[in-house]
């Protein structure tokens, strides 16, 4: 900040009633940016560094003494099968949910992109899931998934897809998918909104030209719509992907990582270490590992797809 300079484009001096130093006046960026920067450093950067620092300590569970031992937690992490299970669960969760949300979001956006009467109302109704607190969403689906009185379970029983002996969330093979469906319900509207904005911003001319040349709607979609919307799609995937990667609420509320560790994501595992074994240094290590993974994946994505904000 010290070397920050402003361009005096007009060279205007102004009246000087108070002889404040230049960097304290409203002409200098410092006063404008100070509150936000201070906030983000004290409660954002500092805790991350603190977390990293904590990860270098070995905690003795019996004596509760923490001793400096930089490699202890990190070698424990590498040897910890639950971490790698959690990586697999997190990546599965993120990619499956992201693909479903992206495809479904695009299809629903195409369907709702109409100026006919009533479509505006439908688009507004579509946004409602976005404001439901995720913990409440988890409850909503927990109620519907319930093996004895849940409406979704009963529909599945009637269709013969599900057996009453194997409730959705108690079964390792269906639990993860059931949680993904909750995420899809809540966040597909996010994709729909972004895709709709993209569709509305498309120029009309290329589509008219294509229609004259005899292109079908499907051809126009793959040759024109998709390429023209690639920037927006990349942006939506990035925002949603990072949010998916740090999923916590649904897992905590609905399955608490179970059955076994079938739905244990990295964030959920961090929470488990924190709450159940109170091994704060190791919990910090898993948390920092999560952060590093997000950073690497997000930056690779930004480089490949040249996402710009």
């Amino acid at each position: 900040m010290a070397e920050a300079q402003i361009n005096h484009q007009d060279g205007r001096g102004g009246r000087k009633l108070l002889a404040l130093p230049q960097w304290l006046t409203s002409e200098h960026p410092l006063p404008w940016l100070f509150p936000a920067t201070a906030m983000l450093i004290i409660f954002g950067i500092y805790p991350v560094l603190y977390s990293l620092w904590l990860s270098f300590f070995k905690r003795n569970p019996a004596t509760r003494v923490e001793k400096f031992d930089p490699s202890w937690n990190w070698s424990k992490l590498i040897a910890d099968d639950r971490v790698w299970d959690a990586v697999v669960v997190t990546l599965t969760y993120t990619s499956v949910a992201l693909i479903i949300q992206l495809v479904l979001g695009m299809l629903i956006a195409l369907l709702l992109d109409s100026d006919r009467r009533g479509f505006g109302v439908l688009r507004a109704l579509m946004t409602l899931p976005l404001v439901v607190p995720p913990a409440v969403t988890g409850m909503m689906f927990l109620l519907m998934y319930d093996g004895s009185f849940g409406v979704i379970s009963h529909v599945l029983y009637d269709l013969g897809i599900l057996s009453p002996n194997a409730p959705l969330l108690a079964n390792g093979s269906t639990a993860l998918l059931s949680v993904i469906i909750v995420d899809v319900w809540q966040w597909t509207p996010f994709m729909v909104l972004i895709m709709l904005a993209g569709l509305r911003a498309l120029p009309k001319d290329p589509f008219e030209a294509a229609a004259i040349d005899g292109a079908t709607d499907v051809q126009a979609f793959f040759r024109l719509t998709l390429p023209m919307m690639s920037k927006i799609i990349a942006l939506a995937v990035l925002i949603r992907g990072i949010d998916l990667f740090r999923i916590y609420d649904y897992v905590k509320v609905m399955t608490d990582s179970g059955p076994g560790t079938a739905t244990e994501t990295l964030t959920a595992y961090t929470g488990t270490v924190y709450f159940k074994s109170a091994d704060f240094p190791y919990a910090s290590t898993v948390a920092i590992f999560t952060l590093l993974t997000v950073l690497v994946v997000a930056n690779v994505f930004i480089k490949i797809f040249r996402v710009r904000f």
Binding site: A36, S51, L54, S114, P133, V151, L193
Partner: protein
């Protein structure tokens, strides 16, 4: 595309069916909140409309009435003699205090930074923007453990102020980027004309930018409010006795059974403010969700 009457009709049917699928879970939850216990836990199947509506769930969760009827199913007999552990009123107050406080702080701090980044050219402003953006993507889990210790040392653990700070921290990056996109839309000529007339930047900010960015500020405030209102992880880690609604509601799930009537009553009440707010900012929703990257 949709030339024939049939395809128009088919499109309506399909669109309505899909939207209904997305509305159904909320409707079902709201319906559950007015069902008596016998209709929620029916052994023979799922009760849809065949029940006598009751407001008892709301009376218990929103008005603090004793939950007597529950005891006949001996479901809430876990030694809460006298006290009503399903009274959601204090959690509603906590949620409101935290949401309003953090919305005000984040919007104010964000507006100042957004103006600085939009109007003052300085070395490193682009880097700063990227840094703020990267903070948006910081997983809360990476900061939560030290935050518990820091808050404990500062006396902020389990206080409204502490949670306000935590939510503000998450909201500031969104507020800065979103408000910057709105301020960028205001032509610079207006500022410059005012400054040629002798106004300082502070005066320009107060008298020109703020009135013109009102819509953007409202949209930002709404999004910050919704985030804080729905947030779960930070509230869970940073508080014990102060419970925001999302955390409070999870305590209704017990090992002896879940009180679905109370869960759905408090849950339905918690959804309503968000519905009202999101309908108010429909026009800026996409911009808000993409932090100003996509303008509508």
């Amino acid at each position: 595309m949709e030339s024939s009457r049939f395809s128009v009709f088919a499109r309506y049917v399909l669109a309505i069916a899909i939207v209904l699928m997305f509305v159904f879970p909320i409707a079902w939850f709201a319906l559950t909140s007015i069902k008596p216990i016998s209709a929620i836990f029916d052994k023979d199947g799922v009760v849809v409309f065949d029940f006598v509506p009751t407001y008892e769930n709301y009376q218990v969760t929103l008005f603090g009435q004793q939950s007597i009827d529950v005891s006949e199913n001996s479901r809430s007999d876990f030694g809460t003699s006298g006290g009503n552990s399903y009274d959601g009123r204090s959690s509603i107050v906590s949620s409101l205090i935290v949401a309003i406080g953090s919305t005000f702080l984040a919007t104010t701090i964000g507006l100042l930074a957004a103006y600085g980044l939009s109007r003052l050219q300085f070395r490193g402003s682009q880097g700063m923007l990227h840094w703020i953006l990267s903070q948006r993507f910081l997983p809360p889990i990476a900061i939560i453990i030290p935050m518990v210790f820091i808050f404990r040392d500062l006396g902020l653990r389990d206080t409204h102020l502490g949670l306000i700070i935590a939510h503000t921290l998450i909201n500031v990056p969104i507020a800065v980027l979103l408000l910057k996109s709105f301020i960028d839309d205001i032509p610079r000529d207006i500022d410059e004309a005012a400054m040629i007339d002798g106004a300082t930047r502070l005066q320009v900010f107060w008298k020109v930018i703020m009135p013109m960015a009102k819509g953007g500020m409202a949209a930002t405030a709404v999004l910050c409010f919704i985030f804080s209102w729905t947030e779960f992880l930070l509230s869970l880690f940073l508080t014990n006795s102060i419970r925001t609604i999302p955390v409070k509601i999870t305590t209704f799930v017990t090992s002896t059974g879940s009180e679905w009537g109370y869960i759905s009553a408090l849950g339905t009440s918690a959804i309503i403010p968000g519905f009202i707010f999101i309908l108010l900012v429909q026009n800026h929703l996409v911009r808000g969700l993409t932090m100003g990257a996509i303008k509508d």
